[in-house]
Amino acid sequence: MPGPAPDERMRPEGRRNSQGIRVDPEAEVTHEPRQAVLSALVKHRPGVLAEISGLFSRRQFNIESLTVGPTVDEDTARMTILIEEPEPGIDQAKKQLQKLVPVISVTELEPEAVRRELALIKVGGEKPDDVNAVAEMYGGQAVDAATDSVTVEVTGSKPKIDAAVEAFKQFDVQEVVRTGAAALERGADTLEKHD
């Protein structure tokens, strides 16, 4: 075939980074991952959780937690999804989520949104009074007590729960269950369609 070989051809300078983003070559932009809280209203019907979690897994989004529960409308459920991604990944996750047919609307919540997580922590029952004292320090309470175990409920932000779990380690933690975050926007804003 005629024509110059590859090394004889004219080439432009190029102004794209490895993500295909056009950049100023002097100051190449790299996107550091950040945490984002996505809140999604979805149709409350069988299989919807599998559809959404499947989307996150097959598109390789780094998911931190996912919680789901009904809303006041019995046909609608609400999901809170924490992801840690660079900016384009967060944008892509929102759009892909919005594309799913059972998804009514998707919003990324502001960092100051109300975020709460629930943990149940089962510890040894030797020092129930001490356990109770620690629980109170974290605004929690004992919800079950037996001769050899106490189960404590703590609600709050992720760092607070992390700290609580750490504090309970002195009592021989036997089991922990955590829900992952549920979150709502502060103020009067709600997640309606076409917002």
Partner: protein, 586 residues
């Protein structure tokens, strides 16, 4: 020039108002009624236990059922039917293996955004989850490869599910949908008429792009010195080819297509640079590399098109028109995103464009590249038959509206490179999924979709063998299709990569034990031809075309022939190799 290659469809309202039809008594009947209401003429499928009630209801319908040899064939035929007509092709399969056999075709349709609806039988609802005979979780399996998969749980609403799935497949960014039909639901009693085809209320289809965004985009385009239009499959899907032609010729902007976009712009037009990507033309790839402003319409910037993203159109500002917001900045950052229907946005752009870009010099340079890197091949006298020559010869003797189907492999690339496409919906191929075996059943779907148009299928020996059993369908239905097997006794594309990138270690890529396809064709009841000499090419093609029914030309081609130009995977489009030795430089 016909925008849509199919025969015109009957007026839909007529069917809906047809009150002479028998009242519905079962879920299965409402399934069929929903298909009738949506205007279905053909269904491709294979019978089986769990889907039997639906087939029984089909017995009384005017919808024509085409029994395929394998469910994979049904899904590819339905896909091709959808590509050619623009309306969803329909395929049926039973539960379990029937449904799983459809999966390849569904995934193929999903990757290429082809409108298609699959209806699968399922074990009765009481048995679901018990690992019953021929049970699989069809909804679970297909969810990632459909726009939506429905589990129909109720005889009263099963028709609504089918109507919605049909509408969803056809609207917005098109794609496959599936409805899983438990046997007790289709057998169950109901007198409900299915609703009219309507998309779900959560599904929004954008139409026109934002006017301010359009204004900003046209200003960037008008200011460009080296503008190009990149037209993807979405242009064809949106029936936007005439709008594209109008826009490009009015503002004199060179047009490159993607491979699925082949046919969206006439390749014989002087502004056409044909198609870009891994095996696209040198001039298209050079134009992409050197453009300063690209208007990309209906393309998802697949890696076979872009090569490495950092070297893709490195100097260009990108205006990206797409109906799917999720495609914006997914692979290539869009400086000017325009979300909307390609046809409508092209009209907006046309009206808003302040002036044609001042690009005489650029157009000249593109023409120079055309003469510098022409699509050619060597054909010495004593060499074996060249595949490119066969494609080129065939292209010259047929009409513009001839539909070309292919399998996947080297033959697919030669067909796309050396056939001259001028009309939309005449190129039917498997792009995103790259499904070997797509060609033979796709040609059946295409021929039934457009019975008045000539249909030719280029296949490779490896690809053809994967679905060769579908020949029996072409014979039974007396379909006038010409199959050309470009036979190099190998999975040629794999062998080419092994030679180029694996030191010629041809592990499992050579097929010296293939059958004689002309004799195989005769065994199926088709007409077989064997082609070995250059001198016989034209006569053999004519003889096969003249035969009224499926004909198979077993063309024994030069096994040393490889596909060039080539951009290595993840490479730089501007640095395409023109021959084997160039690969070492890259």
């Amino acid at each position: 020039m016909s925008e849509r290659a199919s025969v015109p469809k009957e007026d839909q309202t007529e069917t809906e108002q047809d009150d002479d039809r028998e009242p519905i008594t079962t879920g299965a009947q409402s399934v069929i009624r929903a298909l009738e209401n949506a205007g279905t003429d053909y269904v491709f499928g294979v019978q089986g236990g769990a889907i039997m009630p639906v087939y029984d209801a089909l017995y009384d319908s005017d919808i024509t059922h085409v029994t395929m040899a394998h469910e994979q064939g049904a899904s590819h035929a339905a896909d091709a039917y959808g590509v050619v007509t623009g309306d969803p092709g329909v395929c049926f399969a039973t539960s379990g293996p029937g449904a799983t056999n459809l999966v390849t075709g569904i995934a193929d349709a999903s990757m290429d955004s082809d409108p298609m609806i699959a209806l699968t039988g399922q074990v009765p609802t009481d048995f679901v989850g018990n690992d019953a005979f021929q049970e699989t979780d069809t909804v679970g399996i297909t969810q990632p490869i459909t726009k939506e998969s429905y589990f129909a749980g109720d005889s009263d609403t099963v028709g609504d599910n089918v109507s919605e799935a049909f509408a969803l497949a056809a609207s917005g960014r098109q794609g496959p949908t599936l409805v899983d039909l438990p046997k007790d639901v289709t057998q169950g009693e109901t007198d409900r008429e299915p609703m009219a085809p309507t998309t779900p209320d959560t599904y929004d289809v954008p139409e026109e792009a934002d006017d301010t965004d359009v204004q900003e985009a046209v200003e960037a385009l008008a200011d460009a010195e080296r503008p190009v239009i990149l037209a993807g499959g979405g242009v064809i899907k949106a029936d936007a080819s005439p709008a594209l032609r109008e826009f490009a010729t009015e503002y004199e902007i060179p047009v490159i297509t993607t491979m699925p976009g082949i046919g969206s712009f006439p390749e014989d037009h002087e502004l056409s640079l044909e198609w870009a990507g891994m095996h696209g033309t040198g001039y298209a790839n050079l134009a992409i590399t050197n453009t300063d402003c690209m208007l990309a319409i209906g393309t998802r910037f697949d890696d076979r098109l872009t090569g490495g993203v950092d070297s893709f159109a490195p100097d260009a500002e990108i205006i990206h028109v797409d109906i799917d917001p999720a495609e914006i900045s997914k692979n290539i950052y869009a400086d000017y995103p325009l979300i909307g229907d390609a046809k409508m946005v092209l009209r907006q752009l046309y009206d808003a464009m302040p002036r044609a870009p001042d690009a005489d010099e650029w157009r000249e340079r593109c023409q120079d590249w055309k003469s510098e890197y022409p699509m050619t091949y060597e054909m010495p006298d004593d060499e074996p038959l060249k595949p490119q020559y066969i494609v080129e010869t065939f292209s010259e003797v047929t009409d513009d509206d001839t539909i070309v189907c292919t399998g996947v492999g080297q033959h697919q690339m030669w067909a796309s490179q050396f056939w001259e496409f001028t009309e939309p919906r005449t190129w039917v191929s498997s792009h995103g999924l790259g499904t070997m075996g797509y060609g033979a059943p796709a040609a059946i779907g295409a021929k039934l979709a457009a019975p008045d148009q000539e249909v030719v299928c280029f296949d490779g020996d490896g690809s053809f063998l994967m679905t060769v059993q579908e020949l029996i369908v072409a014979v039974r239905e007396q379909l006038d299709i010409t199959y050309v097997v470009l036979n190099n006794e190998a999975v040629g594309m794999v062998r080419q990569w092994q030679d180029g990138f694996y030191e010629g270690r041809r592990m499992a890529s050579e097929y010296p034990w293939i059958p004689q396809f002309d004799k195989l064709a005769e065994a199926f009841g088709a007409r077989g031809f064997r082609l070995e000499d250059e001198a016989d090419v034209e006569d053999t093609i004519q003889a096969a075309r003249e035969y009224d029914g499926p004909a198979v030309i077993d063309a024994i081609i030069d096994p040393a022939e490889n596909v060039f130009p080539m951009v290595p995977s993840g490479g730089d489009n501007g640095l395409f190799a023109l021959e084997e030795s160039h690969l070492e430089m890259l």
